[in-house]
Symmetry: C2
Subunit: 243 residues, 2 copies
DNA sequence: ACCCGACAGGTTGTTTTACCAAGTTTGAGC
DNA sequence: GCTCAAACTTGGTAAAACAACCTGTCGGGT
């Protein structure tokens, strides 16, 4: 009983072509062999070849143009670029992984913006956990997490101790909620006196404020994360393909 | 000579099934009709049905399980949220589509940041095209495009006239370059006196500055787009799934 | 000599028919 | 009640045909 099952033919073809592109046999910009040539070389049928080429196109390795052929684009550039979304790290990594200091944990009346992102009434109350994250011994980020009160009950978020697991993992196991996607808003503003003091930054330097509204698959808001970054020391970087 | 070409059958099937899922005919969690049932109902062949269902699965509408069937997951949460990347619109849409005013077009010595993103020597020269984009009769964005000099030669970008096609299309047809992806940096700073004047904004409001380095498939830089937004009037919004 | 259209041959895109393999459920027969 | 075969499901492969599109070549005309 051989446990290793052979992959489908079209998947084997995908791998073979990827290897040739990476090895330079098919350099970027060149024309790939036509379907008919691939059929002959690999002794497979046309649907198999087309299935393999469709995968390669959807993954960004090649481009196809009706009437002309298929062009090599090279290894998809986005493969190794992991999105470095601020706030996402806070949701997945334990607080004990990054040095920092808990500055607030308790029920508050959130700002209108946060209340709106949580889809709660303007003067209602929510749970806030705020943490000053340090890097190289200096404070660098002020991270705030707002939750509906009922989501915070029975969790370790209300304690003053650093979390030993990520917020996402904690809420999933304790409350059974499923994070699905984040709606992110980025804006800039001048810091308040308190924020400037906490972050150890000049008062005339703007702040980058990133709001992340965490939602479940149906779009219902679960939490809001705000990350405040002094603009003179940090910036956001991201990479994405052009359609 | 009917200009409206009919979409392929499998695409029609995709739309029909999407409408039924949205209408609740196929509620989330339920079992979709089997391939055979869909073949009979829509009078198409099995590969056509399979192609449509493959698209739906890749887009996250349904789940499939060999031997059991296909389950409805519901409208994918990210479907309607199109990434609203600033700068991307400038690259794809004709300048004549948006009201605005060309404020600069010529060779300059770019800032260190732009030179670095273009991977050119610090004191070299590049072509700059800068446009003040208006909305509701007020200036709202200052969009700048830097190109290596050799990429600007022989294009309509050097003229003072508004472009009648997108920058990407223009450069692709004239110079044969292929845009592949963008590396984006977001930062905030105070406006210069000239920027504040051009944008009609107070001098004490910060600017959101978005740098987009356009690259080809091999990572070679092709152009840099900078979008300046007054932070009191605009912010960036985006949505993305959590892995 | 030059230009332009028709045409042939190549390419990918879409659809159909057919068959086999593999996983799941059901029910008939023991 | 248990076993196992039949009937369902989706996954994969093969062979064929037509359509749409691009690019040359070969004309004929100017």
């Amino acid at each position: 009983m051989s446990l290793e099952s052979v992959p489908p033919k079209y998947a084997q073809l995908v791998q073979a072509l990827q290897r040739r592109i990476e090895a330079g046999t098919y350099p970027p910009g060149s024309l790939l062999p036509s379907e008919h040539q691939l059929i002959k070389e690999f002794s497979v049928s046309r649907p198999t070849v087309v299935a393999a080429l469709r995968v390669l196109r959807e993954q960004g390795w090649i481009d196809s143009q009706q009437g002309k052929g298929r062009f090599v684009r090279g290894r998809p550039a986005m493969a190794s670029m992991e999105s470095n979304r601020p706030g996402q790290a806070y949701l997945t990594d334990p607080e004990t992984d990054t040095p920092g200091e808990l500055v607030e944990a308790g029920a508050v009346t959130p700002s209108n913006r946060v209340a709106s992102l949580l889809e709660m009434p303007p003067k209602g109350r929510a749970f806030l956990r705020r943490r000053l994250v340090a890097g190289d011994g200096e404070p660098t980020e002020l991270v705030s997490l707002w939750l509906p009160l009922e989501l915070s009950e029975g969790t370790d978020l209300t304690s003053g101790e650093p979390l030993r697991e990520g917020v996402r993992e904690h809420l999933t196991s304790r409350k059974g909620v499923r994070f699905d996607h984040i709606v992110e808003q980025i804006t800039a503003r001048m810091p308040t006196a308190q924020e400037a003091k906490q972050l150890g930054m000049p008062k005339n330097v703007p702040l980058l404020a990133v709001f992340g509204a965490v939602r479940d698959a149906s779009g219902h808001p679960l939490a809001v994360v705000e990350v405040l970054l002094p603009a003179d020391r940090h910036e956001l970087e991201d990479a994405y393909p052009i359609a």
